[in-house]
Amino acid sequence: MAEEIIKKGSWVQIHYIVLQPSERADNVPEDTKQVPLELWVKGYLDHDASIGSSVTITTVTDRKVQGTLVAQNPPYIHTFGRQIPELLSVGKEFHALISKAGEQA
């Protein structure tokens, strides 16, 4: 499959490693020390490039940042999640309590 070229000026996201595990601060917990400090930022691509290549972008504050191209028009993927059956009866429980006690709102 031919690599898709993303055009200069496209809205993209880049990634780079800020600190390698060996460079992490002394005061971080052991599990955090085992992994790098990573960074993602978005901006306009300064030149044609394909995903995975090293690129420069211009962010919305006009900063030039270098990193690995990871996505074009990256999506927002967070959702409302599934319904939680454990919560479905909560309203009913409160209403039952109020009417049993004869309290008036």
Binding site: Q20, S22, P29, V41, G81, I84, L87, G91, E93, L97
Partner: protein
């Protein structure tokens, strides 16, 4: 050991001074003390001026809502003559959807007055969105630095949403994996851009919240003909509590009890890659509340204007499952879909109302907008499906943060658990000695006076616990 980072860290004081324009050394007193009120006064803005500045960007005058059904439920559980009226200050109606707009307004106004081209905030939460929103109205550029992902690139859903809304307001959002080194990246960005540090903990950011306390006083007097008996405030870094309490005091509410409330996430280390996503709350929890109340000067400013122990009369904890339960109750009984911020104090207020008399008034001090990622269903789905955390109905007393989330089986199981202010004050005193590298014998009378003020106690009390 990274040469770029080390060089930035070594220039910390110089970078921060340039990025905030405040010389904190002028407030330092001999010994461990500093002139807190002098520093707050130096913000140069009166309550009237702050109100006017905030009105320019459409902040404040948020509704005070009476929660009649939740009051009725609390009365059904309370003993005879008990069950205070529960009110809620609907801060979600501010631009960007939270009380944080009040803080951001002052930081952005200050940045504009001082001629900075932009502002930078290190925030994974509502403050980022608030700074982005306020920066727009003040024609400033904004960068928001977030701690968001674990090393598997799994992002906390609530923080993903805060990133989205900050981008919606046109900010540049820099997203990092877990770790306190975020602060160095924040410094590096200040140094690179020359922007203003929109610190959450500057004197003007805290002064910005005083209008919230003042509005609560005015609205409750108008609606109830009395001062609020208790104001329950979700506590993390301490700014929310400090600013609100100062506003209430300025409005003359000398007998209003200030109650701090945090979600109990005991056992989950804040900077741990593995623990990061195992908590279902990104703020308002003990992971911030405990360290910040017992040692405020751990932030991005030399002297933190947020000093919660100065104003706290009582501190209570609630569980994650209880907050989810009460969030659902707020939606189902009052028709208000809000949170997560504010629902910690909602949960505590529901329990505390049952101890109070019927003619008394308890105020839940804030709300925030809700949405994808932030909603109860988003957080519980994430905990259950992504992390294998057990979610079930049961007795909240059996909760183990990070392992399970226990949603109460009935409203009577919602409790506010007191933590000892004496213990927090002792811990504060220990930190004073440790951080200043001194012994208790080296403390002067002036130091002890400061410590008494900083913990809302007396000099005799400080001497007795030292």
């Amino acid at each position: 050991m990274n040469p770029v980072f080390d060089a930035v860290a070594n220039r910390k004081n110089e970078i921060l001074k340039k990025a905030l324009g405040i010389d904190y050394s002028e407030f330092e007193l001999p010994g461990i003390a500093f002139d807190y009120e002098g520093m707050m006064g130096k913000t140069g803005y009166t309550l009237e001026e702050i109100r006017a500045i905030q009105a320019e960007t459409n902040i404040g005058n948020t509704p005070m809502l009476e929660l009649r059904n939740l009051t009725a439920a609390a009365r059904a559980l309370a003993g005879p003559g008990k069950g205070a009226r529960i009110f809620l200050k609907d801060e979600a109606t501010n631009p960007s959807g939270s009380f944080k707009a009040r803080r951001a307004a002052m930081s952005c106004y200050y940045a504009q007055q001082k001629g900075y081209a932009g502002v930078i905030a290190a925030s994974s939460g509502n403050y980022g969105a608030a700074v982005a929103s306020q920066a727009n109205m003040r024609n400033l550029k904004a960068i928001i630095v977030q701690e968001l992902f674990d090393s598997r690139h799994v992002g906390q859903p609530e923080i993903l949403e805060k990133g989205r809304i900050s981008e919606a307001f046109g900010a540049e959002v820099v997203q990092l994996t877990v770790g306190p080194e975020l602060f160095i990246e924040f410094l590096r960005l200040l140094d690179e851009t020359g922007y203003c540090s929109a610190s959450l903990y500057s004197p003007f950011a805290i002064a910005g919240i005083e209008t919230l306390g003042d509005e609560i006083a005015t609205q409750i007097r108008q609606k109830c003909g009395r001062d609020p008996d208790a104001v329950v405030i979700t506590n993390a870094g301490g700014g929310n509590l400090t600013g609100t309490a100062r506003g209430l005091i300025k409005a003359g509410c000398s007998n209003t009890q200030i109650v701090a409330a945090s979600v109990d996430i005991t056992g989950l280390h804040m900077a741990s890659d593995k623990a990061f996503n195992r908590k279902s709350f990104t703020t308002g929890h003990t992971g911030f509340g405990m360290p910040f109340s017992t040692w405020p000067d751990r932030t991005d400013v030399p002297r933190n204007a947020a000093r919660s122990l100065r104003y706290t009369d009582r501190y209570v904890l609630v569980s994650q499952g209880e907050v989810f339960y009460m969030t659902e109750a707020l939606a189902q009984l009052e028709g208000l879909e809000r949170g997560p911020a504010g629902n910690t104090s909602l949960t505590a207020a529901f329990a505390l109302a049952q101890e109070m008399d019927r003619d008394q008034v308890v105020v839940i001090q804030e709300t925030e907008y809700t949405g994808a990622g932030k909603h109860v269903t988003a957080q519980l789905s994430f905990a259950r499906e992504q992390l294998g955390i057990e979610v079930r109905r049961g007795n909240p007393e059996e909760q183990i943060p990070g392992k399970n989330i226990i949603i109460p089986e009935n409203p009577g199981q919602v409790k506010a658990r007191d933590i000892s202010l004496d213990d927090l004050r002792r811990s504060y005193c220990k930190n004073v000695l440790k951080m200043n590298n001194i012994t208790k014998e080296q403390l002067t009378n002036n130091d002890i006076k400061f410590m008494a003020e900083d913990t809302k106690t007396t000099e005799d009390y400080i001497r007795s616990i030292l």
